[in-house]
Symmetry: D2
Subunit: 344 residues, 4 copies
């Protein structure tokens, strides 16, 4: 017996993040996961069959063209996103796309115009907005409990730098890693960023510098509503994944700390110990990834707006571009220096 | 295509806890959930079909007699456990049974003898042993990091008292609620309890007293290894589910605090606020319930011992009986006053 | 120029605690510290002259008989208290006396009758009531913020056991150490204790047991208002001085944790580390000792009641005696079994 | 009897901070506080006599010229500092001077040259270096426990803005308030700042803006050793004095949180509540102020170096000047753009 109100889904790209989404989709009572596409289809056949997925293909267009499929998840490498978005939009499929849409905000802009023309839903994988900690901060700020936001602080540090191969194609730390923080800054401030100043350095691994990238940064933001912001990033925090925010306002302050695997606290004559924070993004944001997928499926089933649209992806990419420019030119850069009209 | 190494499962009792287990079983790649039994089978047909369960029956024996079924979960009311265990053991089914096995430790003893004779696996639903917090405490204690345990403290308070109807059939607060804490005490101490002294009261709701039960208690334990223990219970903590432990030893102390839904901390001129702890046991022990079911399935599939066996259920019931006796007789009660030989 | 509203003070006993009080007295703008008495007067002459104290004597009566002296602090060994109290009361001196008044609550009772007859002020050195943490708990409880108290929990553990010589004359752990906790229990509950049950053990050092004392205990209390209490004590906490309380009531719970020398938290790949709590009682209760002396001086200067009177000392001693009896007789002991009329 | 090894002290300026130092001096066994000078000498006579200070004068030169006085504390208004330092140095008095030395780093430079020529000790009142929290961070960083520092973060927010009259003469938020943070940054990094970028705003009170000052800032620092820093300042934190630091390095991270008046945590159905942090700088830094004075007296008595010398005051003023320049010119400013040779 088939259920009413189901959505049939295909997933393109079966890397780490694609598989994570598949696990959540497979547990969703209203989702039929019909097909997956990956260039290494033969390698993933066994895993896919364990997940009870009928169709496994090398060609993403097999998924996009399948008339039974209502929605596609684009989890393939960044350079493939724009073309796949255009094809999926044309085929009338709702789209969930991992960040960034592309490494060039102009391409992203054009892709989003295609989405807009087609009328399909389009959600960006800014998973952190679904994290219970950050969400609660947003609620508290939005409820006016801290008054007018004045200073927004984001700490975002990875446990380990990515591979050199990944660094080369990542678009750089600003586009690959800080993009989440730019989105979080806009989300928490409830206001657009108008200027970015970046101080960055290569303090973790000189090879990252040789590849033209940085691994450490402190970034100052000016928001439209007058608030100031600061993001600090590192590619390597010895103690694990470090993800904290603080919003300070006219009536108070709210902050969230890292998540820990347990609350055990051991006191001995040598001191008081706790385990390190959750180490890996998939563990840290387990709940957030589940909620983001439920939110997308819900938007498709009930027809409402997605919570994080194409414009959010575009604007975060714009800020990453400003950051890169600020770093290269060693000066504050106004967003108006580089932005093109937003896709409304 | 069917997978190798699968286990086919039936569930008896579709109340709150039965449904929770079913959700976890349904997500387990090596489980085929074939059948469920509940006296109100007609009421749960729709839910069961959403869960893609083929067989829904009123008669638990339909599940137990099904030759394809390898293991049964007994989640029905406590008064049905002993008979179902005996039948399932005789039918050669592995058994997961919710706590307590029965309200009379002598009946439990006989049921466990039947299990032992049959050689099937038998796991008790002491979910808290799988909680990441308590588990980490156990690891730290077992690794000798606090030296010899000297004082074990357990706080266990419910957010709200159960219904009067439930109080009547629950076996009383010691058997229904403190039984988890008796098990936790044995688990953390790594030693048996030899004496119990209970000071209890009716402070939450006088009707609970009229029904012959208590709602508040402080219990002192003597362990075989010399350590002392204390459990404090309340049927109603205004701020939510309160579940903490502390083990103090010759070299140090380890404790765990409550779990919170988020880490947001709001500072205003009126003070610093956090949200209340996770309020409900299903939310608080979500991970523990998943891990306990994985552990049972794993024991069935791989043939190892279950982590929490019948003896653990029996011994906790014995302590609940001592507690009730201590409360009634207003004196310390030695476990040896009432225990029958353990089923080894 | 002499100030108005001054009080002239003498101190009897120049051990650790006597010297501590002297430092606070010397900083008080309205105190003239005129004389100190100690059996080893010659040893302390230099220290006393550094403190600018004019009179140093071996004979406590020199202090008590000095007509210029308004108030005396009795900080000598416990066995001298009763006689000194009687003499000081007769001489019309206000009295601050360290705990316990005596090792026999009947003697204490008689001493307090002498005090009462004389009309002098009499304050007991239960310093912890002045600790900002415990005081805040009391305020919150008294303001009704947790509703009716139901469970009071006190953890009180010393960093190290005292010397064997001290153990011999201390009156035992219940009279020497737990007496503070009995006072705290009465203070926080706002109600008298009616019954005590003690489970105690020798887990720290067998010699303490050979001396007839214990070093570890869990004690259950019944309060007149229906609340239950539990105190856990140890003579040796590897990580320092462990002093925490929790009061649980119908509307909520309040607790305080240990004080730390700093709030530094170090995260490395091995875990998250803090320093151990303040290790020693003089460091932990530095503020409390200052405030208790200010409170006494204030009562003398302004003529109001002391905050902790003789009855508080007497009642705590009574509970210590009940505890010792419960431990010896292995049963709950009602306070009414041993108490004599309170000196009202 | 006079003690050996004493130092005779005079204090110039009896405002809030002068009085605070006097209380600590008066409790120091090796200090004779002989004289105080204040323009409003008649107003403070009573207070001074309570403090048992013999000489009260309107003329600071009475203190400086007194041949018995070994050391002077300069706690008068900033505009008087340079002249008093020169006079005291010439008179051979050791000097403790409140921050800043002057509002113009060039004047400060000249004053420090006079000090150097005279050979007297000179300590700057950067009290926070003596705070047990920040000191512990410094120790941990200096011990290499976080590896090489990479990101230094300082949050420093006042509970309330100063009066408009004070704002007018304060030298601006960078010189008056952030100067402490510039010193802390240098102290924790163990490296000099080479560049400052400031983003500042008037978000608290528009009148502050009309007076030519700012009340909110985020400042990025570049250190010589490659590390990056960020300071965020506000003139008004609704919840009290907010003083936190974090140092992130190649092997880990250390941070300190605010100090609280007590550790009481109240849980009710509405949430978990703590009191606000210590509200006022004199309360927050009570221990630090005592330790800084002890350290100065110790340097005078024992002849060692002061822990915070004139160069530290000068360099912090230089950074404040860079900050003001960066804010006005809306660009990063290198310290080398404005600095004059350091007084070595």
């Amino acid at each position: 017996m088939l259920l009413q109100n189901q959505v049939t889904v295909g997933v393109i790209g079966m890397g780490r993040i694609g598989r994570l989404h598949i696990e959540h989709l497979n547990r969703h009572p209203q989702v039929i996961l019909k097909a997956v596409a990956d260039l290494r289809a033969e390698d993933i056949g066994e895993w896919a069959s364990q997940q009870r997925i009928g169709v496994v293909t090398q060609d993403a267009m097999d998924v996009i063209r399948d008339p039974e499929i209502d929605a596609v998840l684009i989890c393939s490498s960044t350079d493939s996103h724009v073309e796949l978005i255009a094809a999926a939009a044309e085929a009338g499929k709702h789209i969930f796309c991992e960040k960034p849409v592309s490494l060039d905000f102009r391409s992203t802009y054009r892709a989003l115009q295609a989405v807009q023309a087609s009328g399909v839903k389009f959600q960006i994988g800014f998973n952190r907005r679904f994290d219970p900690n950050f969400r609660r901060v947003k609620e508290i700020v939005a409820a006016g409990e801290i008054g007018e936001p004045q200073i927004i602080k984001i700490t975002s540090r990875d446990p380990n730098p990515p591979s050199y191969d990944y660094v080369k194609v990542s678009g750089g730390m600003f586009m690959d890693m800080a993009i989440h923080d730019f989105d979080m800054a806009r989300y928490l401030a409830g206001s657009e960023v108008t200027e970015v100043y970046v101080k960055a350095a290569v303090l973790v691994d000189p090879v990252i510098g040789e590849l033209g990238d940085v691994d450490t940064a402190v970034m100052t933001l000016q928001f439209e509503n007058g608030a100031l912001g600061v993001i600090d990033n590192s590619r390597q925090a010895a103690y694990g994944y470090d993800q904290r925010v603080e919003v300070f306002g006219s009536k108070g302050q709210v902050n969230v700390q890292n998540d820990f695997p347990n609350s055990a606290e051991l006191s001995t004559r040598n001191g008081v110990y706790k385990d390190t924070p959750k180490h890996f993004f998939m563990e840290r944001y387990e709940t957030a990834y589940r909620l983001e997928m439920e939110s997308f499926i819900d938007a498709v089933l009930r027809g409402g707006d997605v919570l994080i649209g194409g414009e959010d992806g575009y604007k975060a990419e714009l800020l990453a571009a400003c950051a890169a420019k600020s770093w290269k030119e060693k000066r504050p850069v106004k967003v108006s220096e580089i932005s093109v009209p937003a896709p409304t």
